[in-house]
């Protein structure tokens, strides 16, 4: 069976600092998988390694059966990574940005047009796409970037804190887009979040990372049942307390 993501005993050192300690998990094709944990737990490092940005110090990481170290170039063609604090080119218009991004994936003009049309629907920015990105609010920029990540129909979307720093309206919009869109197009998502409500709402399964280790894994419902908790926040605090 091919998994969308297989992480096996992943370790990462920054100098002497041991950032990830024997992290292992698997993400099934088509599911939304969440990494949750406090600041500095290792979520972003894990996502960066899966997206080929960083190299693992040890361990095996595969994306759709391809090794992140040896097949990085191939992996880049099927993934889409949305960093937590991503920006965009402020002197380009929204349309130009989307066109630029689409043109890096294909030379086919019809396909590029389709991607942009799809992004228009995803971001819902309408006429504002004709304006320069420098004039966008934080929420609008995030919507544009989410649209950029999903318009190419990646096999795996890696979303780091997709709604971080956004107000309720924009967060709600983005969450709905992720849920509806990825299910419709069978896109696998691995995401990180601080927001337990968001994770509960979106994710099929979650992993709790604490101090570089995975301390808990399961579906939100199973985890809540296991700890007789009302929500994931409660599960989270109990586990972290005893971890």
């Amino acid at each position: 069976m091919i998994f969308a993501v297989e992480v096996d005993r992943l370790n990462k050192f920054y100098g002497k600092f041991h950032a990830l300690k024997d992290v292992s998990f698997k993400v099934y094709v088509g599911e939304i998988y969440g990494l949750i944990g406090p600041n500095g737990a290792g979520k972003t490092t894990t996502l960066r390694i899966i997206s080929t940005l960083l190299l693992p110090s040890s361990g095996i990481i595969k994306v759709f059966g391809m090794d992140v170290v040896n097949d990085a170039e191939k992996i880049k063609g099927i993934i889409s990574y949305l960093p937590e604090e991503a920006g965009a080119y402020k002197y380009l218009t929204g349309y130009e940005y989307l066109h630029f991004m689409a043109s890096l994936y294909t030379n086919d003009k019809t396909r590029i047009k389709e991607m942009i049309e799809e992004a228009e629907v995803i971001c819902g920015l309408g006429e504002r796409l004709k304006d320069r990105i420098g004039t966008y609010s934080k929420g609008m920029l995030r919507r544009l970037l989410v649209a950029r990540s999903l318009m190419i129909h990646p096999k795996l979307a890696i979303l780091d804190e997709p709604t971080a720093g956004l107000d309720v309206i924009h967060s709600h919009y983005i969450r709905n887009i992720i849920r509806d869109y990825v299910k419709k197009h069978n896109i696998t998502v691995i995401m990180s979040s601080h927001n337990m409500l968001e994770v509960e709402y979106l994710c099929d399964r979650v992993s709790l990372i604490h101090e570089g280790r995975i301390v808990l894994e399961g579906s939100p419902i199973d985890l809540k049942n296991k700890f007789s908790a009302d929500n994931l926040e409660e599960v989270f605090s109990r586990v972290v307390k005893y971890a």
Binding site: Y14, R48, T52, A86, M101, S103, L104
Partner: protein, 431 residues
């Protein structure tokens, strides 16, 4: 790969042309500064000319002799001159009068001047220049009265010699030895003093590379900023996960910086040509009008092609170096500081070239200088004039190899995770 490169390049160029800082700072302002400078220089030169060629002189003639009359008539006969003659006023009053009239020059011919000169005693003429603005134009206002006095002086001397020693040519008596300067350039004899040759070569071979260095510095700043901005605007992480090789990203940034440098240089060169033209036409000095071909140093088409190639490659190698340095930087400010260190390296060969020839330096020092690509830019016009094509070709090969190696090192570094970990090391606790 080909299409991807073009797409990234298009994006880079769009960003560059839409960034007002770049468009204004690198293309429009240098152009306007040059045009403005030529306008100011034209104005200065025409006012200098106006002052020098149309003398306005207040003459205070206490002498009223034949000789003082000759001087006054000579000045009066100058086209455009305005002369006011006073006889019985004090110098203070004459100054007052000159200020009222706006005359910058007061010429005082003391009593007994004509008599003294006729008796073989030295006569004195006083010239007062009113420096109300301390400008170059004012200082040149006395040039015609002074030259008339000089002319009169030599006429008096010649006449006296002729009267005293009738059989001798006064010219020969005053200048018994004549020195004639020749220079031997590329084996040919040229009847021009070596100082003039070196000043022509200097003006034609040093000034332009210096201007180009200014353009290089701006382009290097741009190249490094374009990398650093990707980090600062948080677009680098996304860019690095796209299906594009990192070498292609660097190459696109390099090409964009080269385009900018060429645009900047073109704008500067057009403005410079205009400036130079307006200076030489309003300020005609005979030595400046001597061209390189007049002194046997014309540059052949092959030489010119090699100079252009040298300039291009030194531009590429400087930009590649700036890109490499910028990959180490965390943000725009540190990128610009790091690139700033490269300017010092560029300035060294410039100073050396101005004051001496590289070949006159001790060998180890020469070798150090030849490592710096910019050395070849400075040395190339001279080498082309002297038809030293071997040197130019070696420079071109060196800079090509240098650029490729640096680009390779930069892309190697860009491919490693270090390009991001500088940032990570600071945000260690924000995973």
């Amino acid at each position: 790969m080909h299409n991807v490169l073009i797409n990234i390049l298009k994006k880079e160029v769009k960003e560059m042309l839409r960034d007002p800082k770049i468009l204004i700072g690198m293309i429009i302002v240098p152009f306007l500064v040059m045009v403005l400078m030529s306008g100011i220089m034209n104005f200065v030169m025409s006012s200098v000319k106006e002052y020098a060629l149309n003398p306005k002189v207040l003459i205070l003639d206490y002498d009223d002799s034949l000789l003082s009359k000759v001087i006054i008539d000579s000045l009066n006969s100058q086209p455009g001159s305005r002369i006011t003659l006073l006889h019985d006023v004090s110098i203070e009053n004459a100054i007052q009068k000159a200020l009222e009239l706006g005359f910058p020059i007061i010429m005082v011919i003391p009593k007994g001047f004509g008599y003294n000169v006729s008796m073989g005693i030295r006569g004195t003429i006083e010239i007062y220049t009113i420096m109300s603005t301390l400008s170059l134009a004012e200082s040149s206002a006395s040039s015609i009265p002074s030259s008339i006095i000089e002319f009169l002086k030599s006429e008096i001397v010649y006449n006296r010699i002729k009267t005293l020693i009738p059989n001798v040519d006064p010219n020969v008596l005053l200048n018994p030895i004549e020195k004639v300067d020749y220079s031997i350039v590329k084996g040919d004899i040229v009847k021009v003093p070596p100082q003039i040759i070196s000043s022509i070569v200097m003006s034609q071979s040093i000034f332009i590379p210096i201007i180009i260095m200014v353009i290089f510095i701006s382009a290097m700043q741009f190249a490094s900023t374009s990398i650093a901005l990707e980090k600062e605007y948080k677009t680098l992480e996304t860019l690095l996960t796209l299906p594009v090789s990192r070498f292609t990203i660097l190459l696109a940034k390099l090409i964009c910086s080269v385009i900018l440098a060429i645009l900047g240089s073109a704008s500067f060169m057009i403005a410079y040509t205009y400036y130079f033209h307006s200076i030489t036409t309003s300020f005609s000095i005979p030595t400046i009008n001597l061209s390189l071909s007049d002194i046997g140093l014309s540059i052949t088409p092959l030489g010119l092609a090699l100079i252009v190639l040298t300039l291009f490659l030194s531009m590429v190698s400087s930009l590649v170096l700036a890109l490499l340095v910028a990959t180490f930087a965390e943000d725009v400010r540190s990128a610009q500081t790091l690139v700033g260190y490269l300017y010092f390296v560029m300035i060294i060969p410039m100073f050396v070239s101005i004051y001496t020839d590289l070949s006159m330096l001790p060998l180890p020092l020469q070798m150090v200088l030849y490592i710096i690509p910019y050395t070849y830019t400075l040395a190339s016009p001279k080498a082309a004039m002297l038809e030293n094509y071997g040197f130019l070709v070696i420079g071109i090969i060196y800079m090509t190899v240098f650029s490729i190696i640096i680009l390779y090192v930069a892309s190697k570094f860009f491919r490693s995770e270090k390009v991001l970990t500088a940032k990570i090391s600071i945000r260690r606790f924000k995973r």
